[in-house]
């Protein structure tokens, strides 16, 4: 069973003369542990694909299945619960909540789900330790560097029992060193069984994916398996 499956998904914004077809008949399947990169020019529907895959928007047509469950049939609250428990997001501009420390940001999805603050802190600290941020746990977002913020965002996206990680230009606001570090972390998460979808303009980053999907005008125009790239350098390190 695929962690994420899109069946003939389409999305239309506006009505009549203002109608815009953002997605047209998209079929996509992402298995657990796989990392899929989505590429395409601006306005091709990449971000729309990601928001629909993450249940933030409902498709105009077709079905989205997460762990085999159809999302469009769910209520708003059910979709919220699905996001809390199964889906993690990483955005280009981090989107950490100011006013909460790094650890509190990471714990927030679990606390929203009713897990006690103590248990959530334990899990959150584990996630931060794995990302090398244990010493910055009590720092607030405005005290962190861009790379650190994005790592906190990744920790927040994978903490708990999440098995679908969606990243929208996760390295867009970072320098190349931090960008590579971030994609390594996402790749590592996938190695542990998380299904990942990354939207990016950067071919270098896309080469870390198991599969690259090209979009144009809302349609999948090509899918390819990248040759062994920088990812191959990462695999033994991850295993160690």
């Amino acid at each position: 069973m695929s962690a994420l499956e899109l069946r003939n998904v389409s999305k239309v914004y506006g009505e009549g003369a203002n109608e815009v077809h953002a997605l047209r008949g998209i079929d996509l399947s992402v298995e657990s542990g796989a990392l899929v990169a989505v590429m395409g020019p601006s306005g091709s529907g990449k971000s729309t694909l990601l928001t629909i895959a993450g249940s933030l928007e409902i498709p105009s047509g077709g079905d989205v299945l997460i762990d085999g469950v159809t999302v469009s049939a769910m209520s708003r609250n059910d979709r919220a619960r699905l996001r809390r428990r199964s889906i993690g997001y990483v955005f280009q501009d981090f989107n950490l909540l100011a006013g909460l420390s790094a650890l509190e940001n990471v714990c927030l999805p679990m606390e929203l789900d009713g897990i006690s603050a103590r248990k959530a802190r334990v899990a959150g600290m584990e996630a931060l330790e794995e990302l090398g941020l244990a010493d910055r746990a009590s720092s607030f977002p405005d005290e962190l560097s861009g790379g650190e913020r994005q790592r906190v965002a990744i920790a927040r996206a994978v903490v708990g029992d999440r098995h679908l990680l969606l990243a929208d230009e996760p390295s867009g606001a970072l320098d190349s060193a931090n960008a590579e570090s971030v994609i390594r972390l996402i790749r590592a998460a996938c190695q542990r069984g998380v299904a990942g979808v990354v939207v990016t303009h950067d071919a270098q980053l896309a080469s870390w994916a198991d599969r690259v999907v090209f979009l144009r005008d809302g349609r999948v125009v090509d899918q390819t398996m990248p040759p062994a790239g920088p990812e191959s350098l990462f695999a033994p390190e991850a295993k160690s």
């Binding site: 609250n77 950490l96 909540l97 999805p109 679990m110 929203l112 996630a127 405005d142």
Partner: protein, 854 residues
Amino acid sequence: MSLALEERPRELNTPGFGGGPARRAIFRWSWRLFRREWRQQILVLALMVLSVGATTVGVSLAYNAGLPLDPTMGTATGSMTLSGPDPIDVAAAQHAFGTVEEIDHQSIPIPGSLDAVDLRAQDPSGGYASSTLRLVAGRFPTGAGDIAMTGDAAASFNVHIGDPFVVNGVTRHVVGMVENPVNLSDEFALVAPGRINRPTQVTILFDASGKQLDTFRPRGSPTSIGTRSTLNKTAAAVVVLALETIGLLFVGLVAAAGFAVMAQRRLRALGMLGALGATDRQVRLAMVANGTVVGAVGAVTGAVLGLATWIALAPRFEHLVEHRVDRFHLQWWAIGGAMVLAVVTAVVAAWWPARSASRGSVVAALSGRPSPPKPAHRFAGAGGVLVAAGVGCLAFAHRNDNAPNAFLIVAGTIATTFGMLSLGPLFIRGLAAIGRRAPIALRLALRDLARYQARSAAALGAISLALAIAATVAVSAAAAAIPPAEANLANNQAILTLGSVGGSAPGNAAVATPGPTEADVQGLQPRVDALAASLHARAVIPLAAAVDSASPTATDVTATLGKVRTVAHGGRQGVEISNEMPLYVATPALLNFYGISPSEINANADVITGRRDLGGLVVIAPRGGVTRCKASQPRCRVNGVQPTPGSAARQGPDDWNPIIQTVKLPTYTSAPDTLLTKHALQEFGLESVAAGWFIQTRSPLTTAQISSARHTAAVAGLTVETRQKQASNAGLRDGATAVGLLVALGVLAMTVGLIRSETANELRTLAATGATSTTRRTITSATAGALALLGGVLGTGGAYLALVAWHRSDLHPLTRVPYLDLAVIIVGLPVFAIVGGWLLAGREPVSIAHQPLE
């Protein structure tokens, strides 16, 4: 790094249930944001504090405006007034009611004045009326030679503690200063109980039930028996309730405007919460928690500051309401209720923008795009219905003479306010449409108001409400203003009357005394001239009154104008004269003073006047005994009937219906503004006699001048009448307008500041395209000016709608329009706002402290 789902409590499988941990996490985040964004929060907080503080002060003022006790009876429930000492009735009252308290009265004439001071023999520790006495300085009188006075009485007699004072032939020493704390305008002198030799009036106070009073039969002849009037707490409660409602509406509107801006600022963060899996309810909670914090802090701080202000204002307030107030005798439930409701209001105000934030698309929220505004016509339709319902409630709340219906007043006020609020978006859209062809900066400002309808409508509502309150007070004060015709004299006028107290002054034609001869008048003239010179008089006009020489006993009683009515008193008929006013003779000197040519007066006019309300009044020349009409008095009427010439008529006032001609004369009740013509003198058989002098000065008379004139007049055997003190409500009117203006300007400054700071990015874009500081200034001043103009129009319109509904049975008072105050509200405020916006918007906008999303 996985935390298994099975660790979650079983009940959490219910969708949307986050339980305590979720609430705690969201409250923590809200509290941290409150602390981080104190610069933005402090604005809303300040408005909350201001509103709650104003409500607290208003509630305290309204509650203490009512009398705590009866000013004459204290704690007694009944009183009996006797025209002199009557031991039989005192004993009867004691027998019937048990404990009684006796207070003796006598009057002390003020030299040179028509007024007198009440001399009171009262026990300061009496069982009932002790609460009507308070020692201010010195001590209470105890011995036969002791007397205490109120401040005003001491000033009238020019005595101080320790001075000797001759009271009706008895020399006493002033030992203390006292006051009636329940009636500060009560001017009296106090002596020990039983120390008045021949009291002219005796008051007996007692406690009695209605049944006891019904069965009580005094053996003597008391002039009146009364019970304590019910203290009208209902009216005070209505005012308190209405004030509280209006105050909270204001709080809600201001907070809603603030929270709408805060919600916009936090939109991306709220969107992120949604993306993390927060339910709609949890997203709302994030804003509502913030509202709760702001509401609680604002309510507590506002109440504390309000109480401090009330305590500071209390001394001035005491003089306004003319009774002492206990600073801590307040309606605590109302203040506590206002605080609780303020928190609730803040929560509701935060909930509304939170609701629209939680209902919108998560993706749009993450992009910081607000939900598109709802069509204005929907709000306008609801607004029209609400205004109609509110006006209807107010109209029905005040029916006949019954006590106003508090529920309908509150409902009407709320409905009208929300109705006007709902109409706001339509007006904002309208203004934006009008400005379609305006220059870019103006167009942008007006369009922004329409784009961010939620916050601009809330700000407009708050401004409208503040101005509606100011307009309501100004219009009500103007409606309640005493027209000139109801004042006795202008403040630069005085009338010197021949004769002493109780003499034959026109308008006081009660006691007949021998009048002065022509030689007496001539002898007085130099003294009058000296007095006039001391007052820097512009004119000194001799006055003449008309007397009936046919009257055998009261030849000096002058003719007056008034309404005669036969009334029944306990099976006996009597005559009541009302609306009485003095009639002077239209002498050439007086006509010349007023610039009236004798040719302007109709040949058959009996009375010329500047007043227009004399319909139905008749000329009265009271006679002491049986009268006859003479043949020379063809229009003579006795009790409205023309008797057969020469026949005896019934005892009573003669009433002659005069022919009245209106001319241009000033209208005051005591001024010579209603004059008998020569024709009337002949027609009614009256004679002209010297009555006094009318003095007009260049500037208003000072207290010192009046005091000096009284002294001089007393020496000369004259009395002086000057303008009686009247509480002017012009100060209240102007004060309310000024306060409304300041509050509205404050709300404007804060809301426009918030709105413009939120559009700082757009301003930067404008700057990047080459816009100068002039554009920035124009946008800010146009935003402020537009909100101020709409607020003024809506506020004044709403106030008039409500007042028309309230006064619907008699709209005449509303014809007195406070033009200046309304012009200040409708024109002045927008001008202030435009100028203020222009001056304050010169600086390059600094980015707002921290975004809630990093």
